[in-house]
Structure formats: C-alpha cells, structure tokens
Symmetry: C2
Subunit: 344 residues, 2 copies
C-alpha cells in the first residue's frame, strides 16, 4: 500500500506532517508513505531516522490557503498537492492525504483523481462524536463539497456513508437518518421531501427516517445524510457551540473566586479525558467520496498526532477495498436508473 | 395595551401560563392580559388574586401537540389559540402569545392574524446568547417558518431582524450577517449568492457580509439572516450541542472520583450563573414577523418565569410600534420593486 501525502499543506507543515508520517511509518511497516514537497524543508524533520517505507518526492510549488481552488489545479501543476494527486490518478499511490486548502483538495480529487461513473459531484464525509456513548461516532455526509445538492445525491451519500460506517467504524448495520426540519415523515423542504421518497426505496441501506440536528450528538443514528449546504452549516454550528461553550467554561473558572478556581483544578483532568472525543487528534480527517481513490482532508491545523490518526484511517479505508466496491454499487445504482428511463 | 394569551398551550399549561401572567400583570399595571382557555381549569391558578388587568375568556377546545396545523386552524375554531388569534385580528388585542403547537401558531398567525402586504411568507425570529459577552444577544431570522425560502425573503428578514435588534435589544446600528458556507463574498449556493447581491443594495440595514455558523455564538454580528431550513438546522444544532455537552459534563462529574465530585460541587454555582444566557426563562419567545400584529411563540415547556420573560418582550414589541412601522417599510420595499418592474 502506498499513500501520497502532501507534506506542504496545513498550518504546521511540513513539520507536523513529516513527524506524523514518521509515526505512521513505524506503526504500519507494510504502508509506504510518499512525502510530496520541498525536499530541503522536509529532510530536517526526518532527522536521523529514515525508515525504508518513507519516500520524498520533490515538488517546487506550494498551494496556499488563499489560492483559488480551480485556478490552483490548472496553474500550480508542480505543487505538492497536484503532483501527489496525479500519482494517485496514475496508480503510483492508493490514496491522497493533505491538510492544505480544502477547496483545492476537493478540486484535485474531482478533476485529477477523477469522479467515478454515475457521480455528478463528489461528497465530503466526516465523523463526529456520540456524546452519550464516547466509544461511538457517527458519520455526516455531505459536509460541504456540494453547495447545491440534488435529491439523488442524498441516495449516493447514504450508500457511501453506510459503507464507511461498516468498514471504518465497524458498525454492522448502520442506521441512516435524513437531516430534516422535523422527525415526522411529512416534514421537509422540496429537496428533502424528494430525498425522503428516494431513500425509502434505496436498497443496501438501513433508512430510519428523518432526524433533527439537535439529536445528532445523542447518537440518534449512525449515518446522517444531508445536502452539502445544510451539512456544512450544522457541522460548523456543532464545532462553534462546543468551542464557545468550553471557552466560556474556562473563562468562568479562571475569573472566578478561589472556590471556583480550586473546583476547576480538581475537575480538569477528568473533563479533558471526557472531551477527548472532540479532539481532532483522535477523529482523523474528512474523506472525499465519489472519486476513484480515497482523498482525505486533514484539519488545517493538524498536529503530528492528527496526521497519524488520519493515516490510520487511510490505512483502514484502502485496506477495506471500499472504494472499488462502492464504485460498482454506485455504477449499478446509476444503470438501474438508465434501464428505468429506457423502459419508460 | 391588551395581550391575548393562549392559556392552554404548552407542557405546563394552564398552571405555568396563568402564574406567569399573574407576575406580568403585577409588573405592568397598564397591560391587560386576556387568558383564553377553559375557565374552570384557569381559575384555580389565580387563587385569591384577581388583578383587574387579568381577564378570562372561556374557550371549549384545546389544540394538541399532535394536531395537524392547518387542519387545527380550520376545524378547532373554538380552541383557545384560534379564539385568541381572532381577538388580535379583530383589534380586541394587540398581540398573541402561546406556548402551544408551533405549526398551529404559525398557521394561526399567517391565516387568521394575516400577512402584511408585500410578504408572501412570514418568518420566525428568535434570539440566542453571545457567549463571549453575556450581556449581549443576537437575532436569528428565519428560524424555520419557511422551509423553501426565496432570495427576497432574506431581504425582508434583514429588515425585520434589524428593527427587532434596535427596538427590543437596544442596538443602535445592528450588524446584519448572511448565514453562508464561507465568509468570502463569492461563497454560497445559488440561493445565498442571490440573497447576497440583494442584501448589498438594501437600504436601511447595515449589511456586513457572509458569516459562518461556527462564529455566531462569538457575536460575529447582531442579526443573522438565513433561509428557514438552514436557520432551523443551525438553531437545533446549537441547542443540541449545548444540551449534550452540559449533560456530558454533569455525567462526568457525577460518575467521577471523589476529587472530581468535590470539584464539581465547588464550581456548580458559578457555572450555573454563567450559563444563565442559555436559559429560556430569560430569553423570551420566538416572534412571527410579516404578520399584521405580534405573534409570539413561547418554548413548549415554558415555566411561569418563561411566560413572564415572554410577556416582558411582548410589552416592548407592542410598545415600540415596530409592527406598524415595519409594515410601512416592507410595503415601500415591495412597491419600489413594482415600480422597477413597471419601468423595465
């Protein structure tokens, strides 16, 4: 197994990326990690260690956070991200991992690695914690690759999410919920009503009906399917609320009286442990589905531990052969529709 | 000033509703509160107190949580909610307050109280706390009255939200942000891109551009405008995350070791105070805008304190004359468009 890693993407690149890759290389001797980027900047972080399953592929250009995604794909052909994406397309690597410019990663995945047959627009899949049962996570798809989704994309998202939950999270029969504005069957806007009807008749998934965003962290289902715009808004609302609430907690304790400060000290360790599930170091990255090979986006401020977690996740995804199997399933979903159209 | 209160709506009705009304009647001697509902069930909660500014209007029927909204309007004409709504329509009361079935309240507002000219669908407006500055709140509109919003409704929402922030929250020049999937000007789906262009040229509001849901609780703006579907999803994601996170905190402390339990005891009081801003008892209700008179929806599990807070808010809204002024502004917004169409 060979993984193409964009060593220059992210706030802490290349240091954190290289250090995370080193940790993963030790953990998975059978996985070769290709580090794409400026060799003179990468080399120092490898120090004296130079495991045989780490390769450096020198690239002159770097895609910046502020680069316009599609332009970046077209104009920065020698950038670490694009050279890595081409390696995946050409079969020299099995998956692409980057902590760089999100739009550019989506564009590289869609344009260079390429969409699979039957998929008009890929979707971004991520996991979030179940706060009532810290050993469980749930999948959210689409997290924002597609701002204007169509109803049939919900069906594809449900299939992708179900396979991910099975292969990576180990849930035998994942419960799929449609993110909606109420739990009753009749709820929704035009788009989700149409999606509901499609999901009800989709084979190969376990659809349990509508779910509301307030119940997601309580583990109401294992796979939440959504259009990319709403999925993105809900993801960011969850992240933002958690961040601001924990910040408020910290400030309150810090600015409190002696009693409060002492209380804060006493609960600190236990609380930190309980909140581990919100830690990107353990959660891994967001996965682009609907493309020919796994493209995985790490958090922009990824630490070495985040990179390690993402490479563990990438190992599972590649090892499962999920992308190949999904391509077949999605193809047959599309051809069933073509047949239906022909018979009409 | 006369306020029509549906005494039978909500989980704790009529007890909490009547008790809240009693508190408000004492605080605002110049406000008459009309309690609509079963007089034999209302009377006991008034005990020996019978302030002259409380009236009981007997109604036989009650709208239940599970009643289908539009059917409820048509078939339960003698219900407390519908009789109260007709009182507002007929000018016998200045505003409607209910903690009952949300859909039925929206339908009663739209169908009975009636839309104002230029408004195709009313919008639901609510306030949420600014967690970095507990003395401030922000407005979110539409919170879900309208599942399929059009771009021009964002413009109306911005105007309604701005006037509310000025009159009720006392913010002189409220900053209006468009809820979107990124902060850059070019971001969005088809709908929000169209809304962005309209908001930029809307007079009488202070539009600051796109905002993301992760920044709302940090006070990024004073008025967040959104389509009803996304607004609803974000509102519920914020509520759900806060609920689940605080529950996790509680469980962690309760199931912790002696040190953790002691720490929990020490911070409890201060923490409770800091989280007051999330308390519906202080936040008031959600307001339906775009109708001829104020229609205010209290939380379903409203306590007497929630009802009191909502009646305080209702007092401010009615007293400001905001609905009459807004009707004029929205009318002229609509007629400017008619003129433009005629000139084309």
């Amino acid at each position: 197994m060979k993984i193409a890693v964009d060593a220059m993407g992210g706030d802490n690149a290349p240091g954190a990326i290289v250090e995370g890759a080193l940790l993963a290389a030790k953990e998975f001797p059978e996985m070769t990690i290709q580090l794409y980027g400026k060799s003179e900047e990468i080399a120092p972080y490898l120090k004296n260690e130079r495991p045989s399953n780490i390769e450096i592929i020198h690239c002159d250009q770097v895609i910046q956070f502020e680069d316009e995604p599609v332009k970046a794909v077209r104009r920065k052909k020698q950038s670490s991200m694009m050279v890595a994406a081409r390696a995946v397309k050409d079969g020299q690597a099995d998956a692409l991992v980057s902590a760089g410019n999100t739009g550019a990663i989506l564009a590289a995945g869609t344009i260079i690695v390429g969409r699979i047959r039957g998929i008009s627009r890929p979707a971004l899949l991520g996991t979030l914690p179940n706060l009532t049962d810290p050993s469980h996570q749930f999948v959210l798809v689409d997290m924002g690759a597609n701002a204007d989704s169509k109803a049939k994309q919900f069906q594809q998202n449900a299939l992708m999410g179900s396979r991910y939950a099975q292969e990576v999270l180990g849930i035998a029969q994942p419960r799929v919920g449609l993110l909606n504005n109420g739990t009753e069957d009749s709820k929704g806007n035009h788009l989700t009503k149409e999606a509901y009807a499609l999901l009800k008749e989709t084979e190969g998934i376990h659809f349990i009906g509508n779910v509301e965003s307030r119940d997601l962290l309580g583990g109401v289902c294992d796979v939440v399917v959504s259009d990319g715009f709403t999925g993105n808004a809900v993801l960011k609302a969850i992240e933002g609320t958690a961040t601001h609430l924990l910040q408020l907690l910290k400030t309150t304790i810090k600015s409190g009286d002696l009693k409060t400060k002492l209380g804060g000290l006493l609960i600190k360790g236990t609380l930190k442990e309980a909140l581990q599930s919100f830690n990107p170091d353990t959660a891994g990255g967001a996965t682009l589905f609907g493309v020919k090979a796994p493209v995985i986006k790490c958090h922009g401020n990824a630490s070495a531990q985040t990179v390690l977690a993402t490479l563990r996740q990438t190992y599972k995804i590649v090892n499962s052969g999920m992308y190949q199997a999904l391509a077949e399933e999605l193809k047959s979903m599309a051809s069933v529709k073509e047949e239906e159209r022909e018979n009409e």
